[in-house]
Symmetry: C2
Subunit: 258 residues, 2 copies
């Protein structure tokens, strides 16, 4: 792991941000791959604080994740936007996004390794309290953070927002050591009811501490304004479910970071 941005650039960033929210790009490695994430924090907060890993949706790390990280920093957390795909690998269209997401969904071991690499970057920051680290993810990133938990990673908790829900390796659910909060659109056409039931059964059998919230009227991508407002497309923003799921995450963090 190394920090790309020189101090001068970081200072310039500090000068142009009116609030106390700061960010810097961090380059790091997983195996032979070079990844590039973004750390976001509030420099008005002193000392170690809980850390939250943010895992991107299928388009890769975008301004959307950085905005969520800023929202987390405003809550007093230090957030790190992980990069699963690799430095410079930023899909430009849904075909490219599908190819990238499919690659990692089809190789869960690689997906776990990539997300764990991001977790270690976050945990290694001086401002991070290493015993209080959680992970959240959106769509593809929701699947990714559940896989992170399945890898046995030491975490305070995991939150999936409209993640792809499945249970490809039920035996691994016994490795999950932290509470899971799964925020799910009740009308999400990309998650078959049978898949959701299979996941619930797998978590139940493994005696995992889990919660699943179904938001009526919400489809896939319900936290993402860029998804538009047409539920018939299967993915659409839903302001109500967005606000409710964020509030649920906050209450969950209040509990697990105690």
């Amino acid at each position: 792991m190394k920090t790309i941005l020189p101090a001068a650039v970081l200072m310039a960033g500090a000068l142009t941000v009116s609030a106390a929210i700061q960010s810097k790009t961090i380059e790091y490695q997983q195996g032979e791959a070079t990844l590039e994430g973004v750390l976001v924090w509030d420099d008005a907060v002193s000392g170690p604080r809980p850390g939250v890993l943010v895992v991107h949706q299928w388009m890769g790390l975008t301004d959307y994740e950085k905005h969520r990280a800023e929202m987390l920093a405003q809550l007093g957390y230090v957030a790190f936007c992980a990069d699963v795909y690799g430095k410079g690998v930023r899909p430009q269209n849904t075909a490219e996004a599908g190819a990238q997401a499919g690659k990692y969904k089809g190789d869960r071991a690689l997906l776990r390794a990539r997300v764990n690499a991001g977790l270690e970057v976050l945990r290694a920051q001086k401002m991070t309290d290493p015993k209080r680290v959680a992970a959240i993810g959106y769509c593809f990133g929701g699947t990714a953070v559940i896989e992170l938990a399945r890898s046995g990673a030491a975490l305070s908790g995991v939150v999936s927002f409209h993640g792809g829900l499945d249970a490809p390796t039920p035996a691994d659910d016994k490795n999950i050591k932290c509470p899971l909060l799964i925020c799910h659109g009740a009308d999400d056409p990309f998650n078959k009811p049978a898949d959701v039931t299979a996941l619930e059964n797998s978590l139940r059998a493994a005696k995992v501490d889990w919660q699943l919230i179904k938001y009526g009227g919400a489809v896939h991508s319900f936290t993402q304004p860029m998804a538009g407002n047409d539920n018939s497309k299967g993915a659409a923003y839903n302001e109500r479910a967005d606000h409710r799921s964020w509030a649920a995450m906050r209450a969950f963090f209040d509990e697990v970071f105690k």
Copy 2:
């Protein structure tokens, strides 16, 4: 509706309560039936405030509901513990409870009338803001407050805690005008998955604003310490799910009482 307690008794009550939480018994009518509920409030709060109707589980109105009402009063709400069964009708065992609950579950029109009568008592209180009134219920009371919503009652919201979930009259769901929050034990053996799915489908078809939270590892009665701790009995207390569902209710009220 009339207040049973004379002023002297009420004053005595006020003198013996160390905090500012006050309560009084209220006798009221539904048709020919006399019902007896309990109003609870914090007299350190001035002016109209949101009201919360609390509907009891199958054993009828007990200290359990009064304690929940006190917790609500401590949050600044005025709470009224409704009485569905009737003054003096307080089951002493599960056989009696089953008979009473069965009577009203089998006559949803009567159940709606009984719960609406309690709602009107709450709404008529001077300290209640009549435009901000919600209803919560436990087990049998969870079923009851969903029926209250189906009756078309003007409410800010409804919360069911381990309520019996079914959809006996799907056509009535179009009458539901308020958001529903359904807190459900994922391992509750008294709610068949098919019944839960039928309810979800009914609410979906009626375009109701609903949320359903499944708590992993929780069975029926998860908020009730008197249910014991043996999940194998199908009803048991679950501290985690109790605290989480109460936090979810609080966030829901923060939203709907705005």
